[in-house]
Amino acid sequence: MLKPKVPLEKQKVMPVNGDEAVAYAVKQCLVDVVAAYPITPQTIIVERFSEFVANGEVKTQYVPVESEHSAMSACIGAAAAGARAFTSTSAQGLALMWENLYIASGLRLPIVMAVVNRALSAPINIHCDHSDAYGMRDSGWIQLFVENSQEAYDTTIQAFKIAEHPEVQLPVAVNLDGFFLSHTLENVYMLPDEEVRNFLGGYRKPVKTYIDYLNREVEYKLDPANPLSIGPLDLYDYYFEHKMPQVEAMRKASDVVREVNEEWRELTGRSYGDGVIDSYAVEDADVVAIVLGSSAGTMKYVASVMRQKGFKVGVVRLRMFRPFPFNEVRDLLKGVKAVGVMDRGLSFGSFGPLYLEVSTALYYSKERPLLVNYVYGLGGRDLSPAMAEEVFMDLTKVAELGEVKEYLKFIGVRS
């Protein structure tokens, strides 16, 4: 492997939790406007960032809005004015933003948001699950999930580059598990400020687009020299056509996520699979568990232990949930006997959202593995190594039996 452009000894090791890792990343990204509202477990991000502002360490305008709805609204306004904008939230806060999530993507504004995953009410709960992230599944945001705080730092920086890529121009949500990552101390390698700024190409530059009534190419922003009307009423005669570039941008986002992952590897020496999927011991595996977020660590550890005992088990961690890597998942699982999809969230009356995606991916596979949905860890319940082993053992049984008796199973819940 080539030596990274910034070798490890030139990177600063900081003992930080996941929230702080995000805050430090944002500090280095020449962000113009941060508009955010505190909510557990995201709060540390806004606290740390406020300190950077208070100490004059950044030139960012920090807008301490009165709600998450206004947080996203202010980010939309700021991004439309040509600024680089960031926000972060969790659970109820994300739910309150909901209508604006669609507007941010529909207006093609490259906002970056850290979603510190937390269970949705009721009952009210502050701990981790992915019900909040699943709720924004269809909103047109790119959704990335990280496994640890190092990845939270790296991915936050990458997110700006992905969002602002001329072929993408979509908002990006960086998901990190509440408490498991947000409040857990970890040594994180950080780049010098200059390297981050160079990686992003300096301040945000809005893309240029041709505007017929001005009869010229102008930057897409609120600019008194080039008066644009952004967000007009758009009815059945145009709305559909205007949704198609969004479809296309999502399609292109996969490649961009991969490219940026590769660029990051060259710069820092760190990469996360191909940027889209980070798999462990899948090549010759009979059974595979698919998972999002920090639980991947537990799954990989247990898989390594079971491998030593002779079980051919593997783990697929999806780093990217939107756009969903259908082809990659299908190809990767070719020849696997049984696949367990681990959902830290549920669509009531159906299966877990991740399971639905994976089964769609596998439908077109000629060698379709058996598929089981394991719902686990709701409301922050820990996924213990014993539960992980239970999943692998269950999948092994399914593989041996050659059929699935129960498609939807709940792991670690009292009866």
């Binding site: 807008v63 009165e66 202010a74």
Partner: protein
């Protein structure tokens, strides 16, 4: 007051304003004088709202927006809440906006404007804003202000963003077809406060939104109407010039919802002031309330004050209280208007004591 002669001069003359986008060159000084000569204004100043929009014939809001445009001082951006003005001025592929304009959602014009203002500040502080200043205006109707948007508005005011928030108040959800709002006056008919045999229209009075904004202790709050256009010009300009949030409450009639003739939008606004239903005033932080224009004249000469019927008689939405059986309700409404007027007189610095 600028005279009526100037108004008739414009309507009888032919000065055709240049139509099209208003483009402010980078790096140049842009400071437009506040012009009260309507002819000169029409000949030299491009309108911010271009013809061809789909607002109803006789709509008060179109007049209000156009007048506000004539009082701008240079590069300006508008954040528009969902509402009549938003839907009727931008149906794709057309736009009537000659200056930068954005619509995001219903309840968040103030928050969007906050973000825009913060962005320009950030650009300015890092040497990337090609202008000395860009003014930011949030524009919303009564639904987007009194009701669903009050949280974002209050937040914007509390945080001190340099934004002029303009409320064009047509006193109901007109865009969805005349439903009651917090800005609908007492006893007015709407489709969700219908006049029935048990309930005579809306039973609650109008929320004192401008006073609520005064209570935020922002630098400038004022009321205005299209009928008192010079007063409106001055207030728009003051609102843009103060160093912080400003709130301008403009009464804006809706002939569909108020049930009046197409030609009476301005006349109704005049009568709203003449009857003290909608007094004209401004509030300057540290100084207090000042009556302006016609309302100051009425305060000085109470004989000028007209009975509320003068305002109601042009509008079918109040038809039921002008009938003999509505006498008691009419009395209640008059008492309410009088009480609010007296309260204002007691607070106004320039009212005769």
């Amino acid at each position: 007051m600028c005279g009526a002669e100037e108004v008739s001069e414009v309507s009888s003359g032919n000065p055709q304003p240049e139509i099209g986008p208003i483009e402010y060159e980078y790096g140049k000084e842009h400071s437009l004088p506040l012009e009260f000569n309507l002819r000169k204004l029409a000949e030299t100043r491009k309108p911010i709202l271009l013809p061809g929009h789909r607002l109803c014939a006789g709509c008060g809001a179109a007049i209000v927006v156009k007048l506000i445009g004539y009082a701008l001082r240079g590069p300006t951006v508008i954040a528009n809440a969902t509402g009549c003005v938003e839907v009727a001025t931008t149906i794709f592929p057309y736009t009537s906006w000659a200056i930068p304009w954005i619509h995001v959602a219903f309840e968040n014009a103030a928050a969007v404007a906050s973000g825009i203002e913060a962005a320009y500040k950030a650009l300015q502080e890092t040497g990337r804003l090609p202008y000395k200043n860009i003014d930011v205006i949030a524009l919303a109707g009564d639904g987007g202000t009194y009701d669903i948007g009050i949280q974002a508005l209050s937040g914007m005011a509390e945080r001190g963003h340099k934004v002029l928030y303009v409320l064009y108040d047509n006193e109901a959800y007109m865009n969805t077809g005349i439903q009651r709002s917090g800005g609908t006056p007492m006893f007015a008919w709407t489709t969700t406060s219908p006049v029935g045999s048990a309930i005579p229209g809306k039973t609650q009075p109008k929320k004192p939104i401008a006073d609520i904004m005064v209570a935020h202790r922002i630098p400038y709050v004022a009321t205005a109407t299209a009928a008192h256009w010079a007063d409106l010009f001055r207030k728009v300009r003051k609102g843009l010039e103060v160093n912080g949030p400003a709130f301008l409450h403009v009464l804006s009639s809706c002939n569909r919802g108020w049930r009046h003739g197409l030609e009476t939008a301005v006349e109704i606004s005049r009568r709203a002031v003449d009857t003290c239903y909608f007094p004209l005033w401004e509030y300057k932080l540290g100084e207090g309330y000042y009556l302006t224009d016609r309302s100051l004249q009425i305060a000085r000469n109470p004989k000028l004050k007209q009975p509320i019927e003068k305002y109601l008689e042009l509008q079918e939405r109040f038809r039921h209280i002008l009938r003999p059986e509505g006498k008691e309700l009419l009395k209640q409404l008059q008492e309410y208007v009088d009480a609010v007027w007296q309260d204002l007189l007691s607070r106004a610095v320039n009212a005769p004591k």
